[in-house]
C-alpha cells in the first residue's frame, strides 16, 4: 500500500488482475463506488463481473491490485474479513432459513439474550425497529417461508444492515420479482442510498439500470471499458460498450414478406389435450410470426403440438401443402420443422455431454454413412457452427454445461440450423441470455428468415417480439384471439419518434392488446 485511499470512497479497487489457469479474467481493473450511490456494473457473461464481485466479498484474492473499503485496506481476502469491513452480498439464492421467523433470521448467531437464554421478544422488537427505520412493512414474527420473494430480499438486506453493512452488492436482484415487487425494491434501495449506503448493482436489464443507477461501469473481456454518470450516456452507447460493437437488434427492421404464394406452413384447427385449442394459422416463406400471450396462454403448448412432442388430438399441420403426420417428432423434424424449446437445460441440450455431441445430435443420421458416423464431416460441421454463430468454447469436446447461458442457447440454435429446416419454431429464444448474445440470437433469427425460412417466435419479452415479428398473434386460454399487423404496431409508435421512446410505446401497445384479449377470452 503506497498512499491511504481517500476515506470518501466506499469502494476503491485499483489495478485488479486475476487469472484462472490460463484465462485472464481481469486485467488491471479500477472501480470506485461512492457512498450514497447506486453503481451499476455491466458486462456480458464472462466479462469479469462475477470475478470482481468475488474479490470484493473476499471469496477470492486478486493476483495483484489493492482494495480499500471506506479508506480501510483489505489485507486478507476471506468472506469474514470483507464482512468486517462492511461488505455484504445479497444472494440470488436466498440465504435465509425458511422455517425461522424474520427476526430469528436477522439475528441468527447474534441473538439478543437475557442471561444465558435467547430473548425472542427483544429480537422481535429490535427487528421491528430496524425494519421500520428501513421503511419495510414486514412483521418480524412471520416465518420466512411465508414471505414473497421480494420481502425475502428486503429481509436479507435488513440483515446485512443490522450487521453494519456499508457496501451492498446486488446481483440480478429482480430476476424472480413481479413488477410490483420491483417497484417496492427500488423504492427501498433508493431509501438506503439516501442513508449513505453504497450499492453495487449487477443486472442485464437496461430499463432497471436507467431507473435505479447513478453511475455505470462497463467491463468487457476482463478490462474496464468506461465509467460514467447515467445521465451522460445513452442506452445505445451502453450496449455498444458492453458488446464492443453496434447492435441494432432492439429496433424493428422492416422486412418485405411475400404473402402471395401458397403458405409454407399451415395449421388447421390444431388442438391438444387441453391447449392449444383450434389454432389455425398460416406462415409464409421469410416471415417471422410472433406469438404473444400471458403465462399459461398456451404458447409453449402450441410449439410442442406443432413438433408433435405432445400429440395433438385434432386438426392438421400442412408443410408445403402436404400433411405432416401429427404427434411424431421424428416425422415433423424429417419434414423440415425444428423447435428451439423453452427450457434449454432439459429440452434443448444434454448438459453432461459435449458441445460436439449436442451440435450433431439432430443431424447424426445425415452425418453417417451406412450407420457409421463420418467423424471428419461431423467435426467440420461442429467447427463451422461454432465459428458461424460465434459460440465461445475452448473446444467442442467440453461439456455443454460449462458454457454460459447465451452460448448454450446458441448451441441449441446451431444444432437446428445445421438441420436446415424450412420452419423454425422458437420458444423463449433469449430467456436468461446476456444482452450481447441476445442481440446475436435476434440477428441469427432474422438471417434465417431472410434466407427464406418461416419463423414462429413465442416470447414473453415484448421488446423481443416487437423487434422481430412481421405479424403478432395473441393467445389466451389456448386460442388465438387476435392478430396484430405491423401497420397497427406502427400506429402505436409513430416512426418519427425517438427510437428508445418508440420501443416503450410499442411495448405499452402490445401489453394493452394482450390484457384486453385476456378479458375477452
Amino acid at each position: 500500500m503506497t498512499a491511504a485511499a481517500p476515506a470518501s470512497d466506499a469502494v476503491r479497487m485499483r489495478g485488479i488482475s486475476k487469472s484462472f489457469g490460463g484465462v485472464q479474467a481481469l486485467r488491471g481493473v479500477d472501480l470506485t463506488v461512492r457512498p450514497g450511490s447506486v453503481h451499476a456494473l455491466l458486462g456480458e457473461n464472462g466479462a469479469g463481473k462475477s470475478t470482481i464481485l468475488k474479490i470484493l466479498c473476499g471469496v477470492q484474492p486478486p493476483d495483484c491490485g489493492a482494495v480499500a473499503i471506506f479508506g480501510e485496506r483489505m489485507s486478507e481476502f476471506t468472506p469474514e474479513a470483507a464482512r468486517r469491513l462492511g461488505v455484504a452480498m445479497i444472494f440470488q439464492e436466498m440465504s435465509l432459513i425458511p422455517t425461522l421467523t424474520v427476526a430469528q433470521n436477522i439475528f441468527l448467531t447474534r441473538e439478543p439474550r437475557t442471561g444465558r437464554f435467547l430473548d425472542d421478544r427483544a429480537a422481535r422488537a429490535q427487528a421491528r425497529a430496524l425494519l421500520a427505520q428501513l421503511g419495510v412493512d414486514i412483521d418480524p414474527a412471520t416465518p420466512v417461508s411465508r414471505l414473497s420473494t421480494g420481502q425475502k430480499q428486503m429481509t436479507e438486506i435488513a440483515k446485512a444492515v443490522s450487521q453494519n453493512a456499508r457496501v451492498l452488492i446486488m446481483d440480478e436482484p429482480t430476476s424472480a420479482l413481479s413488477t410490483a415487487e420491483v417497484d417496492h425494491l427500488f423504492a427501498f434501495v433508493d431509501r438506503i442510498r439516501r442513508g449513505g449506503m453504497a450499492v453495487l448493482y449487477v443486472s442485464h436489464k437496461m430499463d432497471e439500470i436507467r431507473r435505479i443507477a447513478d453511475t455505470v461501469t462497463v467491463l468487457r473481456d476482463g478490462t474496464h471499458v468506461l465509467t460514467r454518470p447515467i445521465a451522460d450516456i445513452t442506452l445505445e452507447q451502453i450496449i455498444e460498450a458492453i458488446v464492443g460493437r453496434r447492435i441494432n437488434a432492439f429496433a424493428h427492421r422492416a422486412r418485405v414478406v411475400d404473402r402471395s404464394g401458397p403458405p409454407l406452413l399451415e395449421l388447421r384447427g390444431l388442438s391438444g389435450q387441453d391447449k392449444p385449442r383450434e389454432v389455425s394459422l398460416q406462415l409464409h416463406r421469410g416471415e417471422i410470426l410472433g406469438i404473444a400471450g400471458l403465462l399459461g396462454a398456451g404458447r409453449s403448448e402450441l410449439a410442442r403440438a406443432i413438433l408433435g412432442i405432445d400429440p395433438p388430438v385434432s386438426g392438421s399441420i400442412l408443410l408445403h401443402g402436404r400433411r405432416v403426420p401429427c404427434g411424431v417428432p421424428r416425422a415433423a423434424i424429417g419434414a423440415g420443422i425444428a423447435l428451439i424449446p423453452e427450457d434449454r437445460r432439459t429440452q434443448g441440450l444434454i448438459l453432461e455431454q459435449s458441445v460436439f455431441a449436442n451440435l450433431t445430435l439432430p443431424t447424426i443420421d445425415r452425418l453417417s454413412r451406412r450407420g457409421f458416423v463420418d467423424d471428419a464431416r461431423a467435426s467440420a460441421q461442429a467447427q463451422d457452427l461454432i465459428a458461424r454463430l460465434r459460440i465461445k468454447v475452448a473446444s467442442p469436446s467440453l461439456a455443454v454445461k460449462t458454457l454460459s447461458g447465451g452460448n448454450q442457447q446458441k448451441v441449441v440454435l446451431a444444432k437446428w440450423l445445421a438441420a436446415d429446416p424450412d420452419v423454425l419454431v422458437l420458444d423463449e429464444p433469449t430467456a436468461g441470455v446476456d444482452i450481447g448474445s441476445k442481440g446475436e440470437i435476434v440477428e441469427l433469427v432474422r438471417a434465417a428468415a431472410d434466407s427464406g425460412k418461416g419463423v414462429i417466435v413465442m416470447s414473453s419479452e415484448l421488446a423481443e417480439l416487437l423487434s422481430l415479428s412481421d405479424r403478432i398473434l395473441v393467445m389466451s386460454g389456448g386460442r388465438v384471439v387476435r392478430a396484430i399487423d405491423r401497420i397497427e404496431i406502427d400506429e402505436w409508435s409513430p416512426p418519427d419518434t425517438d427510437p428508445v421512446d418508440r420501443i416503450s410505446l410499442a411495448e405499452r401497445g402490445l401489453q394493452h392488446a394482450i390484457q384486453e384479449s385476456q378479458r375477452d377470452g
Binding site: 412432442i309 417428432p329 424429417g334 441440450l349 455431454q353 450433431t360 447424426i364 453417417s368 450407420g371 461431423a378
Partner: protein, 323 residues
C-alpha cells in the same frame, strides 16, 4: 475413454481439450494393481501360468458378452436384471433344440429365446412405461422358472461336437474359441457405441431423454433395441455356457446379472445413463474374473470369496468416485 463417453471429435481439438481425469482410468489402474498383487502373492500357485490366464478368459467370456450389451442398456438409462436367467433359459432351449433338430436349429432356438424375452422386456418398458428394473426383475423369475419347468430341473446333454467346439470348448491353435467370442463382442460393441449414429442416440437417450426426444431421437425405439440387444447377448452367453459344459442347465448364469452390472460400472459406465464405454466394461469383466480366480487360488472358500469380491468391488468404485 473420455472420447467414447463424450463423443468428442477427432482432430487437434481433442488433444487440446481433454484433461487427464484419472478417475476415468481407475479401472485400468485397478486391473494392473490387482494383477500385480496376485502375480506376486500367488507366484507359487501357477497364477501366471498361461493356462491359468486363458482359464480366466474362459471363465469371463460369458460375463463380458452380456456386459457389453449391458453397457448399452445402462448408457440408455435403463437396466436389465434378467440376463443371467435368460442365459440359463437359452442354454436349455438350445440343448433341447439340438437334440431334436441339430445344431443349426439349436442356435436359432437360443436366439429366438433371447429375441422373445427382449421383446417382452423392451415392449413393456417402452410401450406401457413400466420401469425396466421391475420388468426385468419379473422376467428374471419367469425365464428361470420356464427353464426349470421345461428341463424338469435336469441337465440336458449337448452331443453336437461342432456346436460344442464353436460355442465354448474349442481352441484355434493356442487360442480358446471363447477368447475369439469376447474379442468379437468387444470390437463390435466398441464400434457400435463409439462410431455409429445408433451409439450416439443411445448415449443421448440416457444422457437427457427429454432433450433427445426434442432432437428427434426415437428414444422409445432406442430403449427397445438396447433391451433386445441385451437379451440376445444373454442368449449367446447361454449358448456359450452350453457349449463349454456340453449341456444346458437351468442354473447356468445364476447371479450373473450382478457381475455383469458390476463389470460395466467398474469400467466407467454410469448407472444413471448417458455415459458408457465398452472397452472399460471388458476390462471390468476381466478384473472380476481375475479376482474370482485369484481368490480361489488363495484357497478361500466360497463364502469368503463372496465377501472379498464384494469388498474389492466397493473399493474400486469408491476410489473411482472420490472427489
Amino acid at each position: 475413454m473420455a472420447e467414447i463417453v463424450k463423443g468428442a471429435p477427432t482432430g487437434p481439438a481433442r488433444r487440446r481439450a481433454l484433461p487427464p481425469d484419472w478417475r476415468q482410468y481407475v479401472v485400468y489402474v485397478g486391473f494392473v494393481v490387482i494383477f500385480v498383487v496376485f502375480a506376486v502373492t500367488l507366484r507359487d500357485t501357477g497364477f501366471l501360468d498361461p493356462n491359468n490366464l486363458l482359464n480366466i478368459v474362459r471363465q469371463t467370456t460369458m460375463i463380458a458378452v452380456m456386459a457389453v450389451a449391458m453397457t448399452f442398456v445402462l448408457s440408455a438409462g435403463e437396466i436389465d436384471l434378467s440376463v443371467g436367467a435368460v442365459a440359463g433359459l437359452a442354454s436349455v432351449t438350445t440343448a433341447m433344440a439340438i437334440a431334436a433338430g441339430g445344431p443349426v436349429v439349436g442356435v436359432l432356438a437360443g436366439l429366438a429365446t433371447g429375441l422373445l424375452v427382449g421383446l417382452i422386456n423392451g415392449g413393456l418398458t417402452t410401450r406401457i412405461g413400466m420401469p425396466s428394473f421391475l420388468v426385468t426383475l419379473a422376467t428374471l423369475g419367469i425365464a428361470r422358472g420356464t427353464a426349470m419347468w421345461i428341463s424338469q430341473t435336469a441337465a440336458i446333454p449337448v452331443l453336437s461336437r461342432g456346436f460344442n467346439f464353436t460355442f465354448g470348448s474349442g481352441n484355434l491353435g493356442p487360442v480358446p474359441v471363447l477368447l475369439v467370442w469376447m474379442a468379437v463382442f468387444a470390437v463390435a460393441g466398441h464400434i457400435l457405441l463409439r462410431r455409429t449414429g445408433f451409439g450416439r442416440k443411445v448415449l443421448a437417450s440416457g444422457g437427457g431423454e427429454v432433450a433427445a426426444r426434442y432432437s428427434g431421437v426415437d428414444t422409445a425405439g432406442i430403449k427397445l433395441r438396447v433391451l433386445l440387444l441385451s437379451s440376445l447377448a444373454a442368449a449367446v452367453a447361454g449358448m456359450l455356457y452350453a457349449g463349454r459344459l456340453h449341456s444346458g442347465r437351468f442354473q447356468l448364469g445364476e447371479g450373473d446379472e450382478l457381475s455383469v452390472i458390476a463389470a460395466a460400472v467398474l469400467g466407467g459406465t454410469s448407472l444413471f445413463g448417458g455415459v458408457g464405454t465398452v472397452i472399460g466394461t471388458i476390462v471390468g469383466a476381466l478384473m472380476i474374473g481375475l479376482i474370482n480366480n485369484g481368490l480361489i487360488l488363495l484357497g478361500l472358500d466360497f463364502s469368503q470369496q463372496l465377501i472379498a469380491r464384494g469388498v474389492i468391488i466397493i473399493l474400486a468404485v469408491a476410489i473411482g468416485r472420490q472427489k
